[in-house]
Symmetry: C2
Subunit: 131 residues, 2 copies
DNA sequence: ATGTGGCCTCCAGTTACTGGAGGGTCAAGG
DNA sequence: CCTTGACCCTCCAGTAACTGGAGGCCACAT
């Protein structure tokens, strides 16, 4: 399979696949013409990567997960730990976003949004921090 | 005021303040010894920036908001639009995170997390995409 | 004089790609 | 046989918003 084929199958852009090779996530063979030659194994790994990335795992997490995936003697506890830590990061980020959202939606609602300059949003941003 | 003073007042790291000068958000004067010399105006702008960044606005948004803040003839509608668009981005990101969270927390719960290799997390990641 | 801390500039690295330039390769149509 | 268009290749640079570090000046207290 050429890179275009695995791109279509995995949903990953061609550029991204080349990048994944650069950073050592996959190691496809090369044809005599220099084209990357993907086996089923790599096509499968790319789908794995695409799904893991879609769940928000970092590239380093993906590297770890891929190693565990290929290790028949893994302990599921190791996988679970990686996932759990990622879940914690997601939850932290959701909490951050929720706080921003609450503040901001409140301010947006309070702003008239007309042609006058008075604006509670700017007032809030410009108010001296409470020390 | 030296950079350390405005850093303490705004809560922004010294490095960040220098960076903000680099990209033209602030333009402090210089003392004869080369030190940046901040006036109240800049200290205030830095607090503004800190708050806007804490609400997740991008630097470019901050640039726009700062310009509006300094423009007595602004229309609050312009401010509101910037904020509303940012709120939309936040909501989109929250939805993305929630989807990740739902999938991942389900998988984490399903994983035994013991010393055996069987793992629903890896099974999910490794399953061929449904085409 | 010396030590400590604050300040300076410039360079490089971070994350995970993405775009583009410049240039080979392959299969089909004329 | 040649050309055309779709692929493929490498290498370089840029993105967002900083952050860390090297190397070195400046100010003030001892």
């Amino acid at each position: 399979m050429n890179i275009g084929d695995v791109s279509a199958r995995s949903g990953l852009p061609v550029k991204t696949i080349r990048y994944y090779e650069d950073i050592g996530l996959i190691s496809p063979l090369r044809d005599t013409n220099g084209y990357r030659s993907f086996r089923e194994r790599e096509a499968h790994m790319l789908s794995f990567l695409g799904r893991a990335r879609a769940l928000g795992f970092t590239i380093e997490d993906c590297r770890t997960l891929l190693a565990l995936y290929n290790d028949e003697t893994r302990a599921s506890a190791d996988v679970k730990m990686v996932a759990r830590e990622h879940l914690d990061r997601i939850e932290a980020k959701m909490a951050d976003l929720k706080a921003m959202h609450d503040t901001l939606s409140h301010l947006v609602r309070a702003c008239a949004g007309d042609d006058r300059p008075d604006c509670p949003i700017l007032e809030d941003l410009g108010r001296t921090a409470p020390n």
